[in-house]
Symmetry: C2
DNA sequence: TTGGAACCTGGACTTTGTCTAATTGGATTT
DNA sequence: AAATCCAATTAGACAAAGTCCAGGTTCCAA
């Protein structure tokens, strides 16, 4: 998903076009994902949604993220087994992960392009592709 | 690590050259990692070590894997937050993950080469780079 | 033989995510 | 409006993977 000044109504519309019933909770979660250029974890999303106003349960956040994943609305960034983030920018791009700050930034945002991803064996299609370059400062 | 017909003694030797005290448990774990072309999980390693003979605790397996990681003896393959595997082949190569069988195979083994990995921003060095292409059969 | 350092251990604990049974909300029917 | 229905949501119990810790071994050196 990649729309700009998102209102509750524009988000509801987008969900409908993807075949997702736009419930209150789903709209709030989508708004949180879109509200700034960030890569929140499930935990951060839960916290952000509940700060806004809406009471939303952990189960719903996980259900909704899985739904959005299935429908291609978000991408899952697995930096480490216990560091999983969600990216509402689903266009093909890659990420730097800063070991020190724990933050993720788009490689595109750092002015870098990537080419030459490998072809797949016959009969297989990608279910997900990503490069995460884990970095640490200095040597 | 990449030696061929590994004996307990040749493994001990290799560990020593890397500055690792070759304890009984570490040798057993290294042997398990080297014994065939596979990509075991921590659990599988624990099971395999304890089948062989040696009683080894979960904590030791995790400690040892972390140590081997630090020393560059193994690579960690994170397919999914709950699917983490270890690869004793530390040369630069990439992997296919088969969603159906749950197995990992080297991309090199499938006759594919990868070029064009992205440069890093100034002041950063990679702590780990990998591409995992998750696949599912057919369309 | 004693002391100390590195290593190993079992088990409790934490974290992240999943499951389930009960409840809610809201659209549709009567 | 009342009744009905079903997808969506919920709280909280549960599971899996990994971490932590306090005590126990092993081994080497003095």
């Amino acid at each position: 998903m990649n729309l700009e000044p998102s209102t509750r109504e524009s988000v509801a519309e987008m969900l409908r076009t993807r075949g997702i019933t736009p419930t209150h909770q789903r709209i709030e979660i989508a708004l949180v994902l879109l509200e700034k250029r960030w890569h929140p974890s499930a935990d951060q999303i839960l916290a952000a949604v509940n700060v806004r106003c809406a009471e939303t349960s952990k189960a719903t956040v996980y259900n909704t993220l899985k739904l959005f994943l299935d429908k291609g609305l978000v991408r899952e960034l697995i930096v480490d087994p216990n560091k999983v983030f969600y990216d509402s920018n689903t266009s093909v791009h890659h990420h730097f992960y800063d070991v020190v700050s724990g933050e993720i930034t788009d490689i595109a945002a750092a002015g870098v392009r990537v080419d030459g991803l490998p072809p797949l064996p016959a009969g297989m299609v990608p279910a997900g592709i990503d490069i995460i370059v884990r970095t640490r400062p200095g040597l």
